[in-house]
């Protein structure tokens, strides 16, 4: 049983006690909710009092009258919007002038409850609001905890795997029914797109294999001296054909010939992913710069590019599984959404750190620090 706190701001005592009476015995249930929701009503007679309660009790739902003795309902709404509170607001109002309705909607009110209302009207509004709030929270939670929840991982994975299959199936059916014409040339786009989706799926499968590999415990015999400059060079060779296509110039700057104890496969995963990203998300004619340096205790790898960059908001989730930054600039770039989460896992396995600095349209710099000393834990 979960309790949602409902704040009702209305100067009419009758409305407030009515809401309390109706909601105190009300519960909302829904097939996919884990638990029922019940309600605890908090009352405020003025907008000023209401704001105080908002600050103190952080209610989940606000029922807001617009015509109040002091500040108006829409002012309270604006206050909430500016502070970005996670609260759902419904206006209770006897007459909603168009002006107020537009302003309230713009400032985030999601429902209007006409005054006077019957218990049933109030209940059905609250039911809708609860479901929306629940859904909002669960999608948010799944996003936040995505990394921890295996179930979520599998579900997104199956979505990522199913989407290209659906696309392929659709195109094949189109051809089977000869829907775009009799000639094979009529199907140039579907064929090209199918091949691209297959390539995307292949990349995803390769990434998944990497992903399971690094999850396995490290076997001592695989740990050996690895010269990072050598691994970087071989990754550059792998990425080169793509770089030529994109006219991106890759430069390797070895300031220190660092040797660390590691599984060479792991280091290859790190370099392959970061260097191919530095090319993939670059501009035509851009540069990718790989610097290998060291401090007394750490190997330092810096991979920078002159590409499309990432906004500050997007960098927060960048290392989560299946996160792909979706915008105009990335629309035509394919990726599994696993690469950076794999890199991060590897780096953490070696007790290292990875950070990203980026400026949209200027470029991105990834900095990795790995301890030089051998792995102590397996």
């Amino acid at each position: 049983m979960a309790v949602l706190r409902v704040l009702v701001i209305d100067d009419e005592p009758g409305i407030r006690s009515g809401v309390s009476r109706i909601l105190n015995n009300f519960h909302v249930t829904y097939p996919f909710m884990d638990e029922d929701y019940t309600f605890e009503v908090i009352e405020a007679a003025t907008g000023e009092d209401g704001i105080e309660i908002l600050e103190r009790d952080m209610p989940d739902i606000l029922l807001l009258d617009n015509k109040l003795p002091g500040i108006q309902g829409v002012d309270v709404l604006e206050y909430i919007r500016k502070r970005n509170y996670d609260i759902v607001v419904a206006m209770i109002t006897s007459y909603a002038s168009l002006d107020v309705a537009i302003r309230a909607t713009r400032d985030g009110a999601i429902d209007f409850i006409p005054k006077p209302f019957t218990p049933q009207e109030l209940k059905s509004s609250i039911e809708n609001i609860t479901k929306q709030q629940y859904l909002k929270r669960i999608t948010h939670k799944l996003k936040q905890e995505g990394k921890k929840i295996r179930y979520q991982f599998l579900s997104v994975l199956s979505h990522e795997l199913k989407a290209p299959l659906n696309a392929l199936e659709g195109y094949l059916r189109m051809m089977q029914g000869k829907q775009a014409g009799e000639l094979i040339d009529d199907y140039a786009t579907p064929i090209e797109r199918s091949l691209q989706r297959i390539q995307g799926m292949r990349n995803l499968i390769m990434d998944l294999l990497d992903f399971t590999k690094i999850r396995l415990e490290k076997k001592e015999e695989k740990i050996q001296e690895v010269n990072l400059a050598e691994v970087a060079s071989s990754s550059i060779v792998t990425v080169q054909p793509y770089a030529i296509q994109m006219d991106v110039n890759i430069n390797l700057d070895v300031r220190s010939d660092v040797v660390i104890m590691a599984d060479p496969d792991d280091m290859e995963i790190v370099f392959n992913n970061l260097i191919s990203n530095a090319v993939k998300y670059n501009k035509i004619g851009g540069k990718a710069e790989i610097t290998i340096d060291s401090s007394e205790t750490e190997a330092i790898l810096i991979i920078s590019d002159t590409g499309i960059g990432i906004t500050k908001d997007d960098t927060e989730n960048l290392f989560a599984e299946f996160v792909r930054i979706k915008n105009e600039k990335t629309r035509n770039i394919s990726g599994s959404g696993l690469g950076l989460s794999i890199v991060k896992k590897v780096v953490e396995l070696y007790h290292g750190t990875i950070k990203v600095d980026s400026t949209p349209d200027v470029g991105t710099v990834f900095t990795i620090r790995l301890p030089k000393k051998p792995l102590t834990s397996t």
Binding site: Y30, F32, S124, E127, N128, K131, Q132, L135, K136, I138, T139, L142, K143, Y151, Q152, L154, S155, V156, S158, H159, K162, A163, N166, A167, E169, G170, Y171, R173, M174, Q179, A180, T189, R193, R197, K326, R331
Partner: protein, 131 residues
């Protein structure tokens, strides 16, 4: 009314699904408008009233489709909306709008699993447009 008198707005961030849906709808005789994001769909809705809309659930955000349904129904209560997704089975978040209870909060007229056959899509659309 002919099918060609109806314009269907389709929003999906999977370019292939979008291409195929639009292709199939046009093949069936409808006019279409294709957009690849919630934001684009919103700007279309702001200046144009489609005859019917098909929204993908997950686009920029996980609930883009719900939000679009909601906004659509607020602006044009009489325009039928289809919510299409491939995701329900995987997440365990299964929705359907067969019960009155669900209809109250999912503002869509029809909920479809992706991957339905073109003829079936046409039939659902015809039903909603009362053809």
């Amino acid at each position: 009314m002919n099918k060609s008198d109806f314009t269907i707005l389709v929003a999906d961030d999977d370019p292939d699904y979008l291409f195929q849906t639009v292709f199939n709808l046009e093949k069936a005789g409808y006019k279409t408008m294709a957009v690849e994001s919630q934001a684009e769909a919103e700007s279309v809705i702001a200046r144009f009233k489609p005859s019917l809309a098909i929204f993908d659930l997950m686009m920029e955000s996980d609930d883009s489709g719900f939000i679009l349904c909601y906004k659509m129904k607020r602006k044009y209560p009489d325009v039928p909306v289809i919510l299409a997704t491939a995701v329900s089975h995987e997440t365990g978040l299964t929705f359907s709008i067969d019960s009155e209870q669900d209809k109250a909060w999912i503002r869509a007229d029809k909920y479809l699993e992706k991957g339905i056959r073109p003829e079936q899509l046409d039939q659902e659309v015809m039903k909603l447009l009362k053809l």
